[in-house]
Amino acid sequence: MQATIKMFGKLTEITSASSVMIDDVKDTDEVISILQQRYPGLMQLQYIIAVDKEIIHNNTILTDHSIIALLPPYSGG
């Protein structure tokens, strides 16, 4: 499975990009593990994970076209 991971807020400074591609991943735990290797700064930062625009609380199996997003604490308003 190829996954697209959207990055927001302060996280975009770690990845220097608003989205990141990863090949051959099956679930969100694997995605985070690979991202942490690629961008060690990620481990210092607070975020939640959304898959297909829904916030997940546990490891989630990815399907084709799953859109993963890493969301730091909201600060709208």
Binding site: K6, K10, A50, P73, Y74, G76, G77
Partner: protein
């Protein structure tokens, strides 16, 4: 019902102008069942943080997700309060200090629902909607805004 469940775009590029607010108010003057409007406006403060002064906030959002969440939050509020209508606008991009970045506008027959729904909606927007503010200082450095 169609209207209240609509996921219409809440986002405005740049600041929300006082004229935009006046236009929104004027549009409600033909609704004779409205007796009260509650309005909340968020304005960008020129805070001093250490030696630096905030010149602007640059807002960004996960827009696809935000649109869906706003729909859910709207339904929650309409289910809880006897509102006649509710409008929400949030800025994206640069909003300078002193300018308006958030406009929540609720209307009802009597005052309590408009006032309470407006207050609750502001809280829900800050908590539930994926929006981020980047405080840009006058010296061009920045920090990411944290909501209390």
């Amino acid at each position: 019902m169609n209207y209240m469940h609509s996921n219409k775009n809440i986002f405005i590029q740049g600041a929300i102008s006082p004229e935009h607010i006046a236009d929104s108010i004027a549009k409600h003057q033909s609704k004779y069942d409205i007796g009260a409007h509650g309005i909340f406006l968020g304005q960008v403060r020129g805070d001093n943080i250490g030696e630096r002064k905030v010149a602007a906030i640059q807002y960004s959002s996960y827009e696809d997700m935000a649109m869906g969440k706003i729909g859910v939050v709207r339904e929650t509020i309409f289910a809880k309060y006897p509102l006649i209508c509710m409008h929400i606008y949030h800025s994206l991009g640069i909003v300078k200090s002193g300018e308006i970045c958030l406009f929540v506008f609720t209307s009802s027959a009597h005052r309590k629902p408009a006032i309470e729904a407006c207050e609750e909606m502001v809280e829900l927007i800050k908590k539930e909607i994926p929006i981020w503010g980047k405080e840009i200082f006058e010296d061009d450095t920045h920090q990411w805004k944290k909501n209390k």
